[in-house]
């Protein structure tokens, strides 16, 4: 039955507790040996649908057929037995183990209790060679880049006999050249007969690499078509729906590179022409970052002026975290000066840097940003405990703090029943709004924002950026650290590129900067 699709999901419905319909009669047909992309905003139901196909989520209704055979998955183990493999956003390889041990784990293939390491390595290398890639099987996972781990996971999946490969946002943490290499591998795989399903929200990837695309919105399929019969523009419109959302408000990360936003007012070049950068609000002079093993050789010099947004680009793990820790004062540097609004705070504790005019939004909203068990008011005060006008101070004035929180909720559009709602009960977008609100409430001179849109949908990301832009209009400077180059190109006036814990260069965000930045991110050198 060669015309049967490799994967057929029919009328899948999944309702989470609280009557949240994640999938509403979703159907998906994937032809064997093709790359099929599922696109949609955050919360559109992509991850749930893939979880159902992988056996991790049980649907209320619907059925799954693999090559014409009905299957029911009780767990991922069932799905793996049927040849389905999933490569998730965050690597499932254990950091301390070598890649080889990661492959063997749970699939040991032992002979009389002894692992057959050498034989397995040979098999893995054979698979990798067929794909034209090489994987360092004997190195621990923690030493490798996201791109290398993905390659290892793909080879592992094939080694375990996968014929259907699911990849969830595989390019989220990759530099453009790495993403291209990944898709070239996937194309080779598809040509060899493997069925590839990719979940993404990057439409230019869809147009370049996929043969067929399914668009999900609010748990329903709104379109399924050959990519040759559609355009990125049409897909974007289908993704967000024909709502009140004006197209110009979309961040470029959701759109292909050749998209014409049509609203020139928001381009960084014009914005910087409108508000000429003011005095320096954050100066880094000869900062040396401490890497895992040593202090970086090349010192970093970087200045953020009032009213501008400076983006920091780089592949994950090239010193973003260390840079932020050095600026905020959470880790010792290997020398150099940090100057906030004219005050040298190189040796000051984070709290002193905060009162000098520095504010920050931590990267992981739930683990290091908010205290989920605290309410909105308490979270709002957390980094502002010196501020008597907000109701803080040695003796807390909770009624006043509650009024301040209500006002902040109104200004930033934080949707919650009251300021006493627990932060853990808020949606991701509202949690991010709360983080930004509490950073901006002390009217900082400089905001350091780490991945402020991670995991947010277009609307929530736009709200976060609008708040930052409003701050810039009032003379605040922003240092924006993001792994999403498209987002940086959309937001920043200038972009600094980190490579191996050093600053490659700072370039103005002009049209055509994208390729140069991509090259700097991966080679560490400025192309001639």
């Amino acid at each position: 039955m060669s015309d049967e699709p490799a994967v057929l999901m029919a009328n899948i419905t999944k309702v989470y507790p609280g009557n949240i319909v994640a999938n509403d009669r979703v159907s998906l047909a994937v032809r064997e040996g093709t790359i099929h992309v599922v696109v949609g905003e955050n919360g559109a139901g992509k991850t749930t649908l893939m979880g159902i196909l992988y056996g991790a989520v049980r649907p209320e209704e619907g059925r799954i057929r693999l090559r014409g055979t009905d299957v029911v998955f009780g767990s991922p183990a069932d799905a793996i037995r049927c040849g389905i493999a999933m490569v998730t956003q965050h690597s499932s390889l254990i950091p301390a183990l070598t890649l080889l041990d990661g492959v063997l784990l749970g699939h040991e293939g032992s002979v009389a209790g002894f692992l057959r390491r050498r034989a397995v390595t040979a098999q893995l290398d054979a698979i990798a060679a067929r794909l034209g890639i090489s994987v360092p099987w004997h190195r621990p996972a923690r030493e490798l880049t996201v791109a290398a781990l993905q390659k290892a996971e793909i080879v592992r999946a094939l080694y375990r006999g996968a014929t259907v490969l699911i990849l969830d946002e595989p390019t989220a943490a990759l530099a453009p050249p790495e993403a291209d290499a990944l898709y070239s591998t996937l194309r080779d795989l598809a040509a060899a007969g493997t069925t590839v399903i990719v979940v993404t929200h990057r439409l230019h990837e869809v147009m370049e690499h996929a043969s067929r695309v399914t668009v999900l919105r609010r748990g329903r399929v709104v379109a399924e078509t050959e990519t040759s019969h559609t355009s990125a523009r049409e897909l974007a419109a289908q993704m967000v729906g024909g709502t009140s959302q004006p197209v110009a408000e979309l961040t470029r990360s959701e759109l292909p590179a050749d998209w014409d936003a049509g609203n020139a007012d928001e381009t960084p070049a014009l914005r910087s022409a409108r508000t000429t950068p003011g005095l320096p609000v954050l100066e880094l002079r000869s900062i040396r970052l401490r890497g895992r093993k040593s202090v970086a050789e090349a010192p970093i010099d970087l200045t953020v002026h009032a009213g501008e947004i400076v983006g920091v680009a780089g592949v994950d793990g090239n010193g973003q975290r260390e840079l932020v820790q050095a600026i905020l004062g959470f880790a010792a540097t290997g020398g150099g000066h940090v100057i906030v609004n004219g005050t040298d705070v190189s040796r000051a504790a984070p709290r002193r840097r905060s009162s000098a005019g520095l504010a920050w939004c931590p990267e992981d909203r739930q683990a290091e940003g908010l205290i989920l068990g605290f309410d909105i008011t308490e979270n709002l005060l957390l980094p502002n405990l010196d501020r008597a006008d907000l109701g803080a101070g040695p003796r807390m004035d909770w009624p006043r703090a509650g009024r301040v929180a209500s006002e902040a909720m109104r200004i930033h559009g934080i949707q919650a029943s009251s300021p006493t709602a627990r932060a853990g009960s808020l949606s991701g977008g509202n949690q991010q709004k709360l983080l930004i609100a509490r950073a901006l409430i002390c009217r900082p001179k400089c905001l350091v924002a780490m991945q402020p849109t991670r995991g947010l949908d277009i609307h929530a990301a736009n709200a976060a950026f609008a708040a930052m832009r409003a701050g810039c209009a009032n003379g605040m400077g922003v240092l924006l650290i993001s792994l999403d180059l498209d987002e940086l190109l959309e937001m920043s006036d200038r972009i600094a590129v980190l490579y191996d814990h050093r600053l490659v260069d700072v370039v103005p965000n002009v049209p055509g900067a994208r390729e140069m930045i991509g090259a700097m991110m991966t080679t560490g050198m400025r192309p001639q």
């Binding site: 709290r351 931590p362 683990a367 940003g369 068990g373 308490e378 957390l382 405990l385 003796r395």
Partner: protein, 361 residues
């Protein structure tokens, strides 16, 4: 909207107590005794014969109090203070197993200051003794806080070890350099009259310490509800990483929380020697520091809850003695009642507990 009364009645604590009574009744019946008789003896032993005390009061036109409730309060006093100590540390995410050691050093310091300087006016001497006890307990606990905050040593291990040091150190002092030669048992010299807490005659051990314990409970409530340092302690306990990123000095906050915790435990020890024993007696604590861990959990780490659970434990202890004296049931059954209460509280019977289990599957 459930009323406070309904929420209390439905709480894990109430369910636990109910289950404990049923289990205890079952065990008593299994030993061949009359469960109803034993339990009512225990109940009377805990709170006394209130109706006849009331009628006696009316007849004689003066207040007649049975001894049992006074004994209950006397027993609860150190448990309230050390229960508060455990709760303050737990709010900072620190498990202070060392309340026992902090009680001992606090008591020893208070007894030493109390026995010194004869003729000092009470207005100076008594506060000096209380402060000495609190300072001793605070410094003892701060050792564990500092090792945890600066060197990552686990506070459970450190506080357990400090318990041994405290027990042996006070044992040595009271048998050696600090021993009162005129005393038969190992004990320090008697505390000066001016440094003693007011106490009721008649062997109930009831003293003004209960006033201090309730005042401490109010102070702890104020600390967490109104003061910045209390807010910081809660933040560090809920999520130390988020607290650190919010520029809260996590290490300092941990040490302060442990010091406050130790001060409360030290006060418990000081109140015992100043109000009950009048001197430091070797090994005077029957394990208040350990029992207080259960008191804190049973009281849901809330000051009012801790007062209630300390009274419950005080009542069980008093009631058990009475039960053994008047029925054939041994008093060790009270230990089982306490244990079942704690176990029932540790298990979450509500929907949240089931959700946890489902999430793990």
């Amino acid at each position: 909207m459930k009323s406070l009364l309904v929420r209390c009645a439905m709480s894990r604590q109430a369910v636990g107590l109910f289950m404990a009574i049923i289990v205890a009744a079952g065990i008593i019946a299994a030993t061949g005794s009359n469960a109803a008789e034993a339990l009512s003896a225990m109940f009377y032993g805990a709170i006394g014969d209130i109706p006849s005390a009331v009628s006696e009061s009316f007849k004689s036109h003066r207040l007649v109090l049975p001894n049992e409730p006074l004994r209950l309060i006397a027993k609860a006093t150190p448990l309230i203070l050390s229960g508060l100590a455990v709760a303050v540390a737990l709010r900072a995410g620190l498990f202070n197993i060392g309340a026992e050691g902090q009680i001992l050093v606090g008591a020893f310091a208070a007894a030493t200051v109390g026995a010194a300087w004869p003729g000092t006016p009470a207005i100076l001497h008594l506060p000096a003794c209380l402060v000495a006890g609190m300072l001793a307990g605070a410094s003892w606990a701060a050792i564990a806080g500092a090792l945890k905050a600066w060197r990552g040593a686990h506070e459970v291990i450190v506080t357990i070890m400090l318990n041994y040091v405290a027990i042996q150190l006070t044992h040595y002092m009271v048998n050696g350099p600090a021993r009162d030669p005129s005393s038969l048992a190992p004990a320090t010299r008697l505390i000066q009259p001016g440094a003693r807490l007011w106490a009721l005659e008649g062997g109930t051990n009831f003293s003004a310490g209960i006033v201090l314990a309730v005042a401490a409970a109010v102070a702890v409530w104020h600390l967490f509800a109104r003061l910045r340092i209390g807010f910081e302690i809660r933040a560090v306990g809920e999520n130390p990483e988020a607290a650190r990123m919010a520029a809260i000095p996590v290490a300092r906050t941990m040490i302060v929380a442990m010091a406050i915790s130790g001060a409360l435990a030290g006060l418990a020890g000081a109140v015992e020697v100043l109000g009950v024993h009048r001197r430091y007696l070797d090994a005077f604590s029957p394990g208040y520091g350990f029992e207080s861990i259960a008191v804190a959990f049973l009281g849901n780490l809330h000051p009012a809850g801790i007062i209630a659970s300390a009274c419950l434990f005080g009542g069980i202890a008093g009631g058990a003695v009475h039960m053994e004296a008047f029925t054939s049931t041994p008093r060790q059954i009270a230990g089982i009642v306490q244990a079942v209460v704690i176990l029932a509280v540790a298990v979450r019977w509500n929907a949240a507990g089931r959700a946890d289990r489902n999430a793990r599957q």
